[in-house]
Point group: C2
């Protein structure tokens, strides 16, 4: 007999019929003898509806009040599922974050979980009940309702799985797992049976938005086996774990890409100590996040300095950089927001040489010019012209044999 | 500087615009220097919408889950009002029943308040904040969310006023006070400036549904001055208190009526001890509430026994009574659901004789036959044919001079 934590997102509980379908699925697992804790989001659209009401009341809604209000969305779905389970002969009981006591800090709208009291849940499980918990929410020391931010229900599920030492945490979503790359770009993309936490983090932060990064970090930290599955189809989804043994043969696991970046270059900067800080300090002060950074020393003892930012911050960053350029007596600023970052990700890189050169050769063969390169232990990212995105992804997908299991 | 508890019902917070109007009203009072605790219902229709969802999940929704779910309606309105108040420069903070800690028993859907913790409210009031409390809900010893039943927000307001020793508890509703009778039946009906708790209880239980009986009882028990006012119009409404001094001149305060009753008579019952129990015992066992009871001994040493029940229970009561009739060897059962009960209510009866005879004479003058009579210390009720309802009410209203202040 195993203990599972299942999490169903907003589309999975988006209507009466879907909640009934979730109940049937839960009942089947329960009847097979496993213990189950189910975490739910609000019905899809509900949280945004409530935020809309809030904004009619207050231009920038008070965050304490906002959290108290939007937490009602999950309070409704958990009660509905619990009713349905009881109706179909599967004893169940629902809890809000306050009732479980999912203790968080007081950072309204983006609270962090500090502690989970598992007493009531354990008692219910012992009595054979399915426990249904409102995702996305907690309570602070003073009894104020908090929420965990977008995607917070995933975090709730993983944190509960960790606290309860569950065998697996299943995240039911509208995709049936993690793919080698986005199937809309490469139709040959293949669902992965397994992926490591580290790879998943790189994939997620690079734009494969299946799971919230925070919940993956949390799962990795507490070694919670995480499985991503479809709410609407059968299948085993993708398991995210630490176990690499069965994946040794795979050099890389997937290809991620990100269209949301823009590139800024300042050339002819006098090559003096502290130059990186002088350039990036004002950018950071303006709350602009920098992703890739490349610095090269030119022959004339000046430096060329290139970095990428989110496209939303592109114009602000350009303005700041123009001022810095004048200050430093640098040659010029060039800016490009028609770029894309393509990354290959895989723990296999650790033990295999030659992966980078395979990547560069593949891109060269297709005539794709590489504008920037950045590497980490399990990832190599390149910046290329936006128009090459599909070509780059497909040629790399094929070069690394990702279409075969 | 006074402390008021204001309660606004579902229609008063039924839209964004109305919540904004409530905020303006509250702000004005606060700025005049008084302390304010505001109790809100859910937006009109919301509770029924949620109950509808629940019934799609479970034929008879689990009451614990139902309470957790429907309590979200008030959780939303209090957050919205609090946001609005903060937006217009009137500091405010909202609380659910759990957060205040309105401790109740565990009778889900009809819980009773046991205790209110006023710590957080007092702190906020001291800091100059308006405190906005979700009506209708509480929490039991185990942290389960409970609701107080229909009209529970009135009870929340009165209980808070009692706990905080507020100067007055204002119930804002869609009528502007308590009337001498229903203005739809007697257009000359007049709003009362004052009425006593006892009179209000008799008026309410007899069908003038302005306030929930429980909240009036509660107010009477804890001596909370209760005022009924309109959310949508100016005016002082009706004050409900113990003070009778200013009302001494009024013989009766109002005329109530109830169209929801039906009359059952069993005639020719052998007049033996215990006969009332033999008749009413089985009725009570069937969970049918009996209102008026009249028993007369006939010349032939048999008894005629008449009582009224709610019309919804009429057929069931008739069936039971037919069986009893056969058992007891009584003559026959007659039943009539075309009746109405008309009552005059007033504390003035205590000190004035002749009120009953004025009532009977007035009805006789109009040719209205009285079928049953029941009296209490401050009320006289008669049962008459339904078709005489309007005539009876209007003639009594005029006979007791109720159209004049």
């Amino acid at each position: 007999m195993a203990l599972y934590v299942y999490k169903f997102g907003g589309t999975s509980v988006g209507s009466i019929e879907r909640i009934k379908a979730v109940a049937e699925r839960v009942k089947k697992v329960r009847e097979a003898g496993d213990d189950l804790v189910v975490v739910l989001s609000a019905m899809s659209g509900e949280t945004n509806r409530l935020i809309g009401l809030a904004k009619e009341m207050q231009a920038e809604p008070n965050e304490r009040e906002l959290d108290a209000m939007i937490s009602t969305g999950e309070q409704v779905t958990v009660a509905l599922l619990s009713m349905r389970l009881n109706e179909i002969g599967c004893p169940a009981c629902s809890y809000t974050g306050t009732q479980v006591r999912i203790l968080t800090d007081s950072s309204f709208t983006k609270a962090r979980i500090k502690e989970i009291d598992d007493t009531r849940i354990r008692t219910d499980l012992t009595e054979g009940k399915v426990v249904v918990v409102a995702g996305f929410q907690g309570v602070d020391e003073d009894g104020n309702i908090t929420t965990l931010g977008r995607g917070g229900s995933d975090t709730t599920a993983v944190a509960l799985a960790a606290a309860l030492k569950a065998d697996e945490c299943h995240i039911y979503t509208d995709v049936d797992g993690v793919y080698t790359t986005d199937p809309r770009v490469e139709p040959k993309a293949r669902r992965l049976d397994r992926i490591t936490f580290e790879e998943m983090l790189e994939m997620a932060s690079l734009g494969s938005k299946v799971l919230q990064i925070r919940s993956v970090e949390f799962a990795g930290k507490y070694n919670v086996a995480l499985r991503v599955l479809s709410s609407f189809a059968e299948g085993n989804g993708t398991l995210i774990t630490y176990e690499e043994s069965q994946m040794e043969s795979a050099l890389i696991s997937g290809i991620a890409f990100n269209r949301d970046e823009a590139k800024l270059t300042i050339t002819g900067v006098p090559d003096l100590p502290g130059i990186a800080y002088k350039i990036l300090g004002p950018i950071a002060d303006a709350n602009i996040e920098v992703d890739m950074i490349v610095q090269n020393i030119a022959a004339d003892a000046t430096t060329d300095f290139t970095f990428t930012v989110h496209r939303n911050d592109f114009l602000r960053a350009k303005t700041i950089l123009d001022a810095i350029c004048a200050d430093l007596g640098a040659r010029k600023v060039s800016a490009d927001n028609n770029i894309v970052k393509v990354s290959i990700v895989g723990v296999g890189m650790r033990s295999h040489a030659g992966i980078a050169s395979t990547m560069f050769k593949t891109l060269a063969n297709e005539g794709i010019n590489i504008q920037m390169i950045a590497t980490s232990e399990i990832k190599i990212s390149v910046v290329v012209d936006e128009k090459y995105l599909e070509l780059a992804v497909r040629s790399l997908h094929s070069a690394f044999g990702l279409e075969q299991a």
